[in-house]
Symmetry: C2
Subunit: 142 residues, 2 copies
């Protein structure tokens, strides 16, 4: 099966965009996120913990605790999340799996792929998640 981002990363992206919808400093619990997004509870817990450790989220224990963004939504992009979970390998790897990807040693589709790869990068950085939250219409988020 072909994939772009790991499942962990997909979950993280969904969770962060969901958190972006909570405008005031409100905390959101793992329970709510897991339920609304259909993500396994404990697995999501690990991921949020990870994002907290990486500085993207802030957590709070106890009743009415949970997670919120560590900074204004306009300062976070999807790329920050991908970077934190999957790393930035996809921005420089050969799509055919050759060990060295560069203009010096291009595979048959290197030029084309380099362009698409940049396009994916742009997709991830050109909108902050405040904008993304505003445009979101997924039923999962309601």
């Amino acid at each position: 099966m072909s994939i772009i981002f790991s499942r962990q990363c997909e979950y993280a992206l969904q969770a962060v965009t969901y958190l972006a919808l909570k405008t005031n400093g409100e905390m959101t619990s793992i329970k709510e996120l897991a339920k609304k997004l259909g993500i396994p509870y404990h697995f999501l817990g690990k991921i949020l913990q990870d994002l907290t450790y990486k500085g993207l989220l802030v957590s709070q224990k106890g009743p009415s605790g949970g997670f919120r963004l560590a900074m204004p939504a306009k300062d976070i992009t999807l790329f920050h999340v991908v970077e934190a979970i999957d790393g930035v390998g996809f921005t420089k790897n050969c799509v055919l799996g050759f060990p060295d990807c560069s203009g010096q040693n291009p595979c048959a589709v290197h030029e084309k792929w380099a362009g698409l790869r940049d396009g994916i990068y742009s997709m991830l950085v050109n909108k902050n998640i405040a904008q993304i939250a505003k445009e979101t219409r997924k039923p999962e988020y309601v």
Copy 2:
């Protein structure tokens, strides 16, 4: 780690483009492919077996046996290989991992991603592997 195609699929793509360089009906052994491309011998064997089963390659046992393309290189695209190994899921899945990806139920980057996805598809179908073989300069292939 983010990836586009499975490692199996990458190996398959590399092997098929390598086979495309053998113009006359010549057979190529797993040994040669594994050595030149740096792919684990037995693992590659399985993959080539699979591609044979799927009809992309023809195999021959015994001394001077091996594998060759089952049809003229101009009739095969990278997409055929991806389709055979990883399937076509990537042409229709949401990049953020949402279960339903469509214009009816778009995520925040659906429009952008749909375009890039088409670009990847084009990259895979717009050249046949005869053309690809001709343009290839990877040292692995020499």
